[in-house]
C-alpha cells in the first residue's frame, strides 16, 4: 500500500466516524427521553474523538505539508468524503437512528478489532484499541433498543421493521471490496471484508431474532460513498457543518 492509499484508508475510518457523529449531534435535546439525550450525545462524542485521531493520522500522511484534522473535516468538498452512505442517512425517527447505528456498530467493532491487532500502522492500532471499548458500548446500546422496539408494542415492531427494510440497501457497501480494501488487506492494515461479513451476519442475526424482526432479503445494494458519490442530503450536512470555517478560513477557534 502506498502513502496515498494508506491515507485514504485512514480517511475512510475518520469520515465514517465524523459523519455519523455529526448526524447524532442533531438529536441533542430532541430524544424520546432524557437518558437517550445523554446516550446519543455520548456516542456522538466518542465518534468525534475517533474522528480527531484518525483524521490527524491521515493528515500526517499528506504529500506536502501536514493537514490537520480540522482542515480535512471542514475544508473538503462532498466528492472528497469517503464515508459509507449508511452513516450519512438522515436521522428519521428514533427507530431509523437506532437501526442505522446498530447496522454500523458491529461493522465498526469487527473492523476496529482487526485494526487494533495489526502492526502495519501502530498508531492506527492504538486508536482502534481505544475505540473498541467505546464501540462495544455503542453496539450494546443499539442492540438493546432494537430488541426493545422489535419486541415492544405492535407499533414499535412495525416501525422498526420498516426502518430495517429501508436501511438494508446501504449495508452492502460495508462489504464491497475496492482497490483500497485489497491493498489495505494485503498490508495488514484493513481487515478481509469477507471475514468481517461472517461475524457481522451472525451478530446481526442474533439480535434480530431476539427482537422478533425479519432480516430483509439482500436485494440491490446502494453504494458510492467510498468513491465520494453521496446521497443528496449529504451536501446539506456538510453545508451546515462547514459553514463557520468556510466563512472565516483563516480564523482559529
Amino acid at each position: 500500500m502506498n502513502k496515498s492509499q494508506h491515507k485514504q484508508a485512514l480517511l475512510r475510518l475518520g469520515d465514517d466516524a465524523l459523519i455519523l457523529g455529526q448526524r447524532l449531534g442533531e438529536w441533542c435535546g430532541h430524544a424520546p427521553a432524557l437518558e437517550e439525550d445523554i446516550a446519543l450525545t455520548n456516542i456522538a462524542l466518542d465518534l468525534i474523538g475517533q474522528t480527531q485521531s484518525y483524521l490527524s493520522l491521515a493528515g500526517s500522511l499528506h504529500e506536502d505539508d501536514t493537514q490537520t484534522d480540522d482542515q480535512l473535516a471542514f475544508h473538503r468538498i462532498e466528492r472528497d468524503f469517503q464515508n459509507l452512505l449508511l452513516v450519512e442517512q438522515p436521522n428519521g425517527d428514533f427507530g431509523d437512528t437506532i437501526v442505522r447505528q446498530f447496522l454500523f456498530d458491529y461493522y465498526a467493532l469487527f473492523r476496529a478489532e482487526h485494526i487494533a491487532s495489526q502492526v502495519f500502522d501502530i498508531d492506527a492500532a492504538a486508536i482502534a484499541a481505544k475505540a473498541i471499548k467505546e464501540i462495544r458500548y455503542h453496539a450494546d446500546h443499539s442492540s438493546k433498543w432494537v430488541i426493545r422496539l422489535g419486541d415492544g408494542t405492535d407499533e414499535s415492531h412495525s416501525r422498526v421493521q420498516k426502518s430495517l427494510n429501508k436501511l438494508w440497501k446501504f449495508t452492502g457497501e460495508m462489504f464491497t471490496v475496492d482497490e483500497i480494501d485489497i491493498v489495505g488487506a494485503a498490508s495488514g492494515l484493513l481487515p478481509d471484508l469477507d471475514s468481517i461479513k461472517t461475524k457481522w451476519d451472525s451478530a446481526i442475526n442474533a439480535v434480530l431474532k431476539d427482537a422478533t424482526l425479519k432480516r430483509p432479503e439482500d436485494g440491490w445494494m446502494q453504494k458510492g460513498g467510498r468513491s465520494g458519490i453521496h446521497t443528496e442530503s449529504f451536501g446539506f450536512l456538510l453545508a451546515e457543518m462547514q459553514s463557520l470555517p468556510r466563512a472565516y478560513p483563516d480564523a482559529t477557534w
Binding site: G29, I48, Q52, D70, F94, G152, P245, A251, T252, W253
Partner: protein, 309 residues
Amino acid sequence: MIQTVEQFDAYVAAEKKIEPKDWMPDGYRKTLIRQISQHAHSEVVGMLPEGNWITRAPSLQRKAILLAKVQDEAGHGLYLYSAAETLGVERSDLVDDLLSGKAKYSSIFNYPVLTWADIGAIGWLVDGAAILNQVPLCRCSYGPYSRSMIRVCKEESFHQRQGYSIMVELMKGNEAQREMAQDALNRWWWPSLMMFGPSDKDSEHSSQNMKWKIKRFTNDELRQRMVDMTVPQAECIGLKMPDKELKWNDETGHHDFGEIDWDEFYNVLAGNGPCNEERLAVRNKAHDDGAWVREAAVAYADKKKKTKG
C-alpha cells in the same frame, strides 16, 4: 426525630441536613419541589439553545467539548429530577407541568443563540451566574439537593471555563471574531444579570428561604458578585462592558452598575421572550415524537417481568 416545626427549625438552624424520610413543613417541601424541578427543567430546556450549535461548531475540538457540556446538562437534569422525586413527586408529572407551560424554567434560555460567540458568552456568563447561584446551594439544608449541587457545580465550573476560553480565542482572532465576541457580550450581559431574579425589595420567596437555609444570599448580593467577578475578566481580554453607568466605587469596594430593564425581565418571565414559544414547542414535539419509543420500552420491560415471574 423531628416532629414539630420548632424541632425542624432548630435542626436546620444547627446546619444539620434534612433527609427524605424526615418530617418537614409542607411549605418547605413545596418550595423545594418548585425550586428543584424548575432547576431540572432549566437544564433540560438549556440543552436546546446550545444544542443548535453542536452541528455548527467551528472545529472538531469545539464540537467535542460542546457535546460533552450539553451531555452534562442532561445529566444535571436527571440528578435534579431524582432529587425532586425524593420529596414524593413523579418525574413524569413534573415534565407534564413543563410541557403544559405551568412550570417555569430559567428565562435566560428564551433568548436566541445567534452566533458562535454566543456559545462562549453562555458558558462564561450564564454558567458563571449559575455557579454563583448554585455554590451556596451545595450547603442547602435538604440533603439530596445539596449533594446533587456539589456534583453539578464541579461540572459547571468546567462549562464556565470553556465559555471563557471561546471568548479568549475570539479576542485573539481577527476583527470579525472580536466583533462577534463583543456583540455576544452586549446581548447576553443584561439577561445574565437578570438570572439572579427580582431585586431584593421585590423578591417574594427570599426571607423564608433564608430561614430554611435553602437560600444563603439575597438576589442582589449574588448579582453584585457577578458584576465584580465579570468586569476584570472582560477587561483582561479587551471586551467592553455594555453599561455606561458601570464604575468602581472605592467606598463600597464594589462596582456600581446601571439599572436592569425590569420591564423586559417580567415580560420574558411571562412568556413574551424571543424564544419562549419555540423552546416549549420543541420540547413538546420531542416528547410527542418519542411517545411510541417510551411505550415500547415499558411494554418490553413488562413482558420480561412476566417471563421471569
